[in-house]
Amino acid sequence: MAVAARSIHGTRRLKLQVFRTVVFVAAAVFFLVPIGAMVEFSTRGNSGQRTLEYWKEILAYPDMVQAIVASLELAAITSVVMLVLLVPTMVWVRLKLPRLSRIVEFVCLLPLTIPAIVLVVGLFPMYIWLGTNVSDSILTLALAYVVLVLPYCYRALDAGLGGIDVKTLSEAARSLGANWLDVMWRIIVPNISNAILNATLLSVALVLGEYTIANNLLYNNLQVELVHLGRANAGVSIAVAVASLLFAFVLLVVLAFIGARPRRMHRDPVAMLASPAVSSQK
């Protein structure tokens, strides 16, 4: 496009500049004002001054604190279960069962096509059974959340595994005497550590923002509690929402930072062999 952009003649270029400016400014207003407004609202005092009252009040609502803790616990459990379930399966399928890769992909992406509100209808009787026979803890929600985060984590991990030659690496490790656990833990995992972190952060962000399933299975997670509290004290509720948004934002910055970080320099054996020969010629 660079060449084409240069070729556009004077007036056309000017019109384009005007168009782009208008569009970007309008988009910035539409997308930034609501976010800024939340910050403004949560720091609004009774007589127009800025105050952090609402923020300080958060701790005065034990239900909210409990819900925040529960959501964080859910995020942790969901991430761990997701990784334990997904990473070995995806590696195994690449190594041994390439014919199953389409099926695994299909299953993993299926939750994208099933709306959460539909899934919850099917989960409803299951959770009634779970609640009476196993446990009625809110943490059981993690079982359903794993399904929810499956598509996003699958994609992140798939990108990571696509970047390395799983098969050759593990065959090399096996030929050097490693067992499957060694291969997984010492070879595969270190090489896809970025993708694993990626998937983890995604699942944390998704779980913290989840409302549909918790609300309909009658559990009070962070988002459900936000709505409850919003009716009683909008200021505090919005302060919590801003906080959760900030938390998600930090996660995303971490994500972007990882993505931008250059891959650790692995010493390429070929380069190491070649370099002394080159220098000796000079």
Binding site: R6, S7, H9, G10
Partner: protein
């Protein structure tokens, strides 16, 4: 095809700048009616800019473009009546081959029946009548470029522009299509500007080759002349392979390793210089045996190129390329010692080391 004789195209002192970079620095070039001129040069030399100015896809900062006696400098691309073939992927992917070819005629309000007929005629001209109903995605790169050629010619343009049309193709297809383009161009008799960075391509297809560097024309002439009598060291270096050999200028000739060779350039002061010698001007005089001498060395590689072979000889302080018939090259496998001889055709010399980016 309809018998059409080409028109004259004149580029006069064209200047084009991108910010502080001068892409075209006063280019003047006249294409005779029906002539095919190839502009050759490294990327960034301004050859593509020249073509895009002629096409009207970019505006010149100075100079004039005259086609068939009419000044078209200020005319937009869609009113210049110029056919253009792009590097690659320029076929409209949602139209089959004949619809692509007919598109320019549609823009000219030719009736539907007539334009299909003419499109099929054009596809026939490029030998693709059978592929009229194929989409671009169903054709090979070479076929796509032939359709693009038919599309460019269907509007009966006054000038045909080819912007590296072969660069995205693999070697075998490239030389076949190159000859095909030349055949069609001669058949239609259209004035053509062909831009390429591939010297072999330019030398094979063009009536005249223009070698460009830094927005300027270094040399313009028939392929044989550009190759055998390069006007500047840059041309000698860029067109064909060249041995750079240390020598000493004395009294109008240069002495290289004991051989005195006449100079192309007149009035060169005496002193050390680098002589630019073509591999064809280097021959193998016989086995070197245990002799010592400035032109005795060891064969370190033999590249088989078909009828000829290229032999790399290590002379101790430098290596020299010699190109000779395969039959004689085969008598000197790698590892044998040979004695070289230099032909005494006039050569170019260079005084300074080339810019550090080269070599």
């Amino acid at each position: 095809m309809t018998d059409r004789s080409g028109v004259e195209v004149r580029l006069e002192n064209l200047v084009r700048r991108y910010g502080t970079v001068t892409a075209l620095d006063g280019l003047s070039l006249t294409l005779a009616p029906g002539e095919l001129v190839a502009l050759l040069g490294p990327s960034g030399c301004g050859k593509t800019t020249a073509l895009r100015l002629l096409a009207g896809l970019e505006e010149a900062d100075g100079g004039r473009i005259v086609i068939a006696g009419n000044d078209v400098t200020g005319l937009p691309a869609n009113r210049r009546n110029i056919g253009m073939v792009f590097q690659a992927y320029s076929l409209f992917p949602h139209m089959v081959a004949w619809e692509n070819v007919a598109f320019g005629l549609q823009m000219r309000h030719v009736s539907a029946v007539e334009r299909k007929k003419r499109a099929l005629d054009m596809l026939d001209l490029v030998g693709l009548a059978r592929f009229a109903n194929r989409y671009a995605s169903q054709m090979s790169g070479g076929q796509q470029q032939r359709v693009a050629l038919a599309r460019a010619l269907a509007i009966q343009p006054q000038v045909l522009l080819l912007d590296e049309p072969l660069s995205a193709l693999d070697a075998k297809v490239r030389s076949r299509l190159r000859d095909e383009i030349r055949r069609v161009q001669l058949e239609v008799g259209i004035t053509t500007l062909f831009v390429t960075h591939d010297q072999e391509e330019a030398l094979a297809i063009a009536d005249r080759v223009g070698v460009m560097q830094s927005g300027k024309l270094e040399q313009l002439g028939p392929p044989t002349l550009v190759y055998s009598r390069p006007a500047t060291p840059f041309v000698a270096d860029f067109v064909g392979l060249t041995n750079r050999m240390q020598g000493t200028v004395r009294g109008g000739s240069v002495e290289v390793r004991g051989t005195s060779i006449p100079l192309v350039q007149p009035d060169v002061s005496d002193g050390p210089a680098i002589a630019l010698i073509r591999p064809e001007a280097v021959s193998i005089d016989g086995n070197g045996g245990t002799d010592e001498g400035p032109l005795v060395g060891t064969v370190i590689a033999v590249a088989f190129l078909g009828a000829v072979s290229r032999v790399t000889v290590d002379l101790g302080d430098t290596t020299v390329l010699a190109q000779l018939p395969t039959s004689s090259a085969s008598q000197h496998p790698a590892g044998t010692r040979v004695r070289l001889a230099l032909r005494t055709d006039p050569v170019l010399i260079q005084r300074e080391e080339p810019a550090p980016t080269a070599s």
